[in-house]
Symmetry: C3
């Protein structure tokens, strides 16, 4: 339903009054470009109003107010609340940012939308399904590769987690590719396997670049930090650095994929580190459509939740 | 009139177009949750537009522009200006933040709304009257207790000042309760006495917790720093710390009050330091209604001033 | 056309729906008062929506995303993009902030508006023409003085550059006045001379205060740093400091100008350093009208570019 509505919104971007007088309050503990702009403009184009606050300018962010009180009060004012909170905010205690978000959701009397925390980035993953459908029509039987890549900083596992959970749920043949040491949370992997079973898709994990890229329909590249040394930056870096040059997504690797394969990334991307300019700007790449679709899908999400 | 209009707005939250095309520009020198969101959403629901700026991102906040020039220029653009400025911005020189706000008001050709300075928080106090009327119907003959409480930081006197001035003006029987050394400004106390005289209410200051809480209809708890050591953080702390455990508002103290008494706080509140969870989440507490009412009352204020 | 439309907007400030459903996204690397508020309120009064982001809260500002990717993605969401970026952001490498802005413009599929970079401030200059026409009716034969003044910090050359280029293009008789060592970029000066030739105006550079102020119709005072020591703060300061008291725009200097001369400044202005209170608040001064006109002119700019 949401994806169907999103398709309609994309076909016709004419502003509506569907959320007239409604406000969506977003609190950002961390930077944002796509999420912030696409949610804001989604609200605007639905006739509603986006408000955003840097967390450190609120009493919640100043740790002077409980999540409960902030949630209870904002619920009195706004039609919905959005939160972005990365692992650094809760000192890289695994899952702690998600817990804070859950605590706010628990007390909120209006819908709370996860704008990416330390474990999940659900609106990105739902948009990614929309983009794959747009480009590939059918999802069944399509090989979806999620490949790890090197990045100068240890990034959260939110995008890979949401990606494997969502792609397996929608029946894709999901291949997770990463070097040893970059395993995702075993609970996530278990859920992904169950999803694949239920949906009729598949889920496999490989460490070989050739095996991963071979005949892929969709190549999704993303860096994440090793959970083995989560929050231990020095050790984690030592594990990550050796893979720097080998794991970049380049034209040679894309040659292994299907001729009409698509290259995806949630952005921002470090050019020529995560993927080469040749790939990002090349014929396989759909990264700007993917970013644009955030707008259309989130309009449908906001309509569903805030109406 | 404002309170009557606020009541109507609360009864019917349907968005209007009463402030269509009008902008309310808010400059925040300090964090905010309720003030910022409630004023923003008030403007939105009246069909107007809220803008807010972190002071440090403006030339005024950068001390590169005079209050006069900022006021004169913003007056050309906006229908109203709001300022929040706490004591730390003017280095705890008593009243200096209020003076800066007055300077801006002096030069502004549009209404300036005090969003809390170092001396006053008038929109909070007006809302508090609204909430008391909502809960208690009549104000006459009601015992209003404003009790000091411990807080890990020395807080400004803006809320207690505005509270005693407003409650006495509206004819309540006001009891101000605090330990020795936490006296409010004598000019404020004199004004409060005069207000009580004129309005037919009363005003007394007590130091005994039992005496203060006994038979109260309304319990308003709030911490503030000692004016004796205003800006001398070390000395002030030594005075404050011994009262830490005794002055918390807990169920035992609430037992002394009327059965149908209400517990109020402007929020944010340090839970189990200023008041216990039992009180904040208990049957006397009206803190979330009180926070919600900021929205309705400020809609009426904005309509009156910006229309 | 833009200036004519601006005149209409000034005559009738009634909000319109001309940019309904359209969003203007502004990214600020630096503080702002007039630019931010006037563009925001311009969008609002045209029925559109302004969004602004502190650059450091975006991936572009965090240097985690290329200008290309940010430009491409924002183009998918917004009807226009605005950027403010001063020299400090690119470490006072002459022209580097303008280059970054040009890079974004190059990849953007929607209009990009320069909200002041290290080389230019075009919206200010266009508004200044509007203000001069408003006050002086005809531009031909009017002596426009741009005088340097001392300021405690080395300011960018954006305003003087845009001022001499624009005033010469519109046919004014432009006198550029500054102490030795504060020459503008020779390319700018060459362009200004060519502009004057084409427009029928004139362009001269003088170092004598008397000569500069004598019989001026318009006095525009502005400080800028010496290009000789651009980014070398210590040396630049030594060059600047000796001119501190002599170069202030005061009543004595204004006495040399035409009786009906006007005093202009883009604001913010350091009072009694760049110009005296007597001048800023005096009968020649049009600084608040000049600031107000930003709103009207930018409404016309936004209509032209975003419609």
């Amino acid at each position: 339903m949401v994806l169907q509505k999103a398709k309609e919104y994309k076909k016709n971007r004419k502003p509506t009054e569907e959320l007239k007088g409604k406000t969506f309050v977003m609190i950002f503990f961390n930077p944002s470009t796509r999420t912030r702009n696409s949610f804001a403009i989604a609200m605007i184009e639905l006739g509603g109003f986006p408000l955003f606050f840097e967390a450190e300018k609120t009493w919640l962010g100043q740790q002077s107010e409980s999540p409960k009180d902030t949630a209870k009060v904002l619920s009195r004012y706004a039609a919905g609340i959005g939160i972005r909170i990365f692992p650094n905010i809760t000192k890289w205690k695994y899952g702690a940012s998600n817990q804070l978000l859950q605590e706010i959701a628990k007390w909120s009397d209006v819908p709370l939308i996860n704008l990416e925390d330390d474990l999940y980035h659900p609106c990105q993953a739902l948009t990614d399904i929309f983009t794959i459908r747009e480009k590939k029509k059918k999802l069944e039987g399509k090989k979806f590769l999620l490949s790890w890549a090197y990045h100068p900083k240890p990034l959260p596992v939110s995008v890979p987690n949401s990606t494997v959970l969502t792609m397996t749920r929608f029946g894709l043949d999901v291949t997770l590719l990463h070097p040893k040491g970059f395993e995702l949370d075993s609970k996530i992997l278990t859920m992904a396997k169950e999803n694949a079973k239920e949906s009729g898709g598949s889920f496999e994990i490989v460490n070989s670049l050739e095996e991963g890229y071979q005949d892929a329909d969709i190549v999704y590249v993303k860096s994440w930090g090793s959970l083995k040394y989560y929050g231990s930056f020095k050790e984690e870096k030592q594990l990550r650095v050796p893979y720097r040059k080998i794991w970049i997504c380049d034209e040679n690797k894309m040659e292994l994929t299907k001729k009409d394969s698509i290259f995806m990334h949630c952005l921002p991307i470090r050019r020529n580190i995560v993927a080469t300019d040749g790939v990002i700007d090349g014929s396989h790449s759909v990264v700007y459509d993917q970013a644009e679709n955030r707008l259309h899908v989130q309009k449908a999400i906001l309509l569903k939740l805030l109406k």
